[in-house]
């Protein structure tokens, strides 16, 4: 499925995730095998409760599988200590969430700069890079606004700027358009397309078919299992659209 002979960035094998909530255990993921090459634009589509977020948390090293292995750029993440995982989340992965997850007491600029603070980038360089990231999402004039003073679409673009500020190789987005109107959705999706064209790996989680159609490849998840059924069609359409 990969467009060229690049290296594999994500490799899941037999991944299961079971949540033990009180008496009943919930099997959110029931054996997932997925391989994603560097530079791919992949959508994961599925209905609510199908395990999309659970999968994304594992992909983002925010959570660990109950069973199975996850290799990120060739490294098995179960071997890594919490501090190393933090480092990977900081340098290799940019997150975009449905709820934006901006810190309300900080300006857009400081929100965007936050990952750089944990990357050890300080002072003028950090400000410079944060401004540049805001510029890329077209919000340089909103740098000093707090999230509460921005529209939903603008907030999500700030979140995208934050996700790309450390120049990660992969962007993970969990229903990034779920809280947006169609115009803002189109803006955000256009940003992802740009990032993809610039060589980033993008994993886009959604439950909307037209959003998934943006990706080059679509994985369908249902009851914690992946099928690539109906994916070829969407992927082909998307490819044709961009070529």
């Amino acid at each position: 499925m990969s467009t060229s002979g690049t290296r594999t960035i994500i490799e899941l094998a037999g991944v299961r995730k079971t949540y033990a909530t009180g008496a009943a255990a919930v099997e959110a993921l029931r054996g997932i095998d997925v391989r994603i090459e560097e530079g791919e634009y992949v959508a994961i589509i599925g209905p609510s409760g199908s395990g999309k977020s659970t999968l994304m948390h594992i992909l983002g090293c925010l959570d660990v599988p109950t069973e199975g292995t996850y290799e990120l750029a060739g490294r098995d993440v179960s071997d890594l200590a919490e501090a190393e995982l933090a480092h990977i989340r900081n340098r290799e992965i940019g997150f975009v969430f449905q709820q934006f997850n901006l810190l309300p007491d900080m300006t857009a600029l400081r929100n965007v700069a936050l990952p750089l603070a944990y990357a050890g980038v300080y002072g003028a360089e950090r400000e410079e890079r944060a401004r540049h990231a805001l510029d890329r999402v077209g919000l340089s004039d909103r740098a000093d606004h707090r999230p509460g003073e921005l529209s939903g679409g603008q907030q999500q673009r700030v979140a995208v700027a934050r996700a790309l500020v450390t120049e990660p190789s992969m962007i993970l987005a969990d229903e990034p358009t779920g809280n947006l109107d169609s115009v803002s959705s189109a803006d955000v999706l256009a940003l992802f397309r740009e990032l993809h064209d610039a060589g980033r790996t993008i994993v886009l989680i959604t439950h909307e078919n037209d959003v998934a159609a943006e990706a080059d490849r679509v994985l369908t998840i249902r009851d914690g299992r992946i099928t690539e059924r109906a994916a070829d069609d969407a992927a082909t359409k998307a490819k044709v659209g961009t070529l």
Binding site: A83, A86, R89, N101, P115, Y118
Partner: protein
């Protein structure tokens, strides 16, 4: 994330929850201000006692009638027993008996109503000898002290303390005027300069008294007794003080014909007086400081409590920071610094309130309060320590949160 950055983050958190931060700090504010105040009161009381004792004169031994009790304490007040007399004072003044004694001043003391014209004032009449002025290191602002002749004659003259003079003669120069004491008319021949001792009670004030020749004092009280309330003995120098002590002790034991176990007099040095007074003060200060320390502890627990609430409230923020690359130690540091900041700000406010209290309180309670820089520094150190100490647990709770639990809480 470096320390400066973390400090800024913590300061932002403190600032954005201003009310909660203030309430959190309240315990520490109260604790620190009461520590500063109680220590200040204790030190103030010590300073006051020292100034009173220093104002007695220098290189002094104070001989009182009655036996001493146990360790350093002096039993009984003035004239609790008529075992000390003018004859004793004369013995001690003999350089063959006590070669290291330079001067001796026996004193009697009675409280009497004085009248000048239509003005009445109750004061202390101190009967003594001509040496008193030098022994007690007093100077005069007007007139002169009484002479040996006046002492021998029992002349009706008096030297007034500064406060007594201003009470009886609000205008004009008291020297040359007369006052009446117990029906006897006394001519004011001099006025003493202020002693420099801070005293709150008139019965011990060194500035509210009327000094008369001891012979005159005997006539006033109509007694023929030679008993005295105390004998002030001045040693020739500070180095000779303990030698003088031995000589006085030996001379009085011999002349009273008693053993040291059954001595009917006691000798106090200024140091001993100071130590006795301070030990009482110290107990009080320690007690009060203990109460203050408990309130500090409660304040620290308050910080911990609020920090725990804050961790729970900010689960989402913590999760997000972790998702963006914060290591557990970065999160721990953030919450630890936040707690320390609450502690140190609380400490600063508390110290400021303590200092203001120390400036305002003396005029309200008539007690000196000294501001001790050391106490303030220590208090700030303690409040920082409280912040850190009680911040450790909440901070490690925050650090242990998994990013996912944190992000999921909607």
């Amino acid at each position: 994330m470096n320390w400066l950055e973390t400090l800024r983050t913590a300061a932002d958190a403190v600032r954005s929850h201003r009310m909660r931060s203030l309430l959190t700090m309240l315990g520490i504010v109260i604790g620190i201000s009461s520590v500063v105040l109680t220590v200040g009161l204790g030190l103030g009381a010590q300073d006051k006692v020292r100034s009173q004792i220093d104002a007695l004169g220098s290189n002094l031994l104070i001989v009182s009638p009655g036996s001493s009790t146990g360790t350093g304490g002096v039993r009984g007040g003035f004239g609790s027993a008529a075992t000390l007399t003018l004859a004793d004072a004369n013995t001690l003044a003999n350089s063959a008996v006590a070669p290291d004694v330079s001067r001796v001043a026996p004193t009697t003391s009675t409280s009497t109503s004085l009248t000048a014209g239509t003005t009445n004032w109750t004061s202390r009449i101190v009967g003594t000898t001509t040496n008193w002025q030098q022994v007690r290191a007093r100077t005069l602002t007007a007139g002169r002290f009484f002479t040996a002749n006046e002492l021998a004659d029992g002349a009706d003259v008096t030297v007034l303390g500064a406060d007594t003079a201003s009470e009886l003669f609000s205008r004009g120069n008291p020297v040359g005027q007369t006052i009446t004491a117990d029906g006897t008319t006394l001519t004011v021949i001099g006025v003493l300069a202020e002693s420099g001792a801070t005293s709150s009670s008139s019965s011990t004030s060194e500035d509210d008294l009327a000094v008369v020749p001891i012979t005159t004092a005997q006539q006033l009280s109509g007694s023929t007794s030679n008993a005295v309330a105390s004998v002030y003995v001045e040693a020739k120098s500070a180095d000779l003080l303990s030698a003088a002590y031995q000589e006085v002790d030996a001379a009085l034991l011999t002349s009273h014909d008693v053993s040291s176990a059954s001595a009917d007099f006691s000798i106090a040095t200024q140091d001993a007086l100071l130590a006795t007074a301070n030990s009482t003060n110290k107990t009080m200060t320690i007690l009060l400081a203990g109460v203050a320390a408990i309130s500090l502890l409660v304040g620290g627990i308050g910080v911990m409590n609020i920090m725990l609430v804050s961790v729970t409230e900010r689960v989402r923020e913590i999760g997000l920071r972790k998702a963006l690359g914060a290591t557990p130690s970065a999160i721990r540091r953030q919450f630890l610094i936040e707690a320390s900041l609450l502690g140190i700000i609380g400490g600063l406010i508390g110290a400021a309130i303590g200092v203001v209290g120390a400036l305002v309180l003396p005029s309200m309670i008539n007690q000196p309060v000294s501001i001790s820089g050391l106490a303030i520094l220590a208090a700030l150190g303690v409040s920082l320590g409280l912040g850190v100490g009680f911040g450790v647990y909440p901070a490690s709770r925050a650090a242990r949160l998994t990013p996912i639990d944190a992000l999921r809480s909607d």
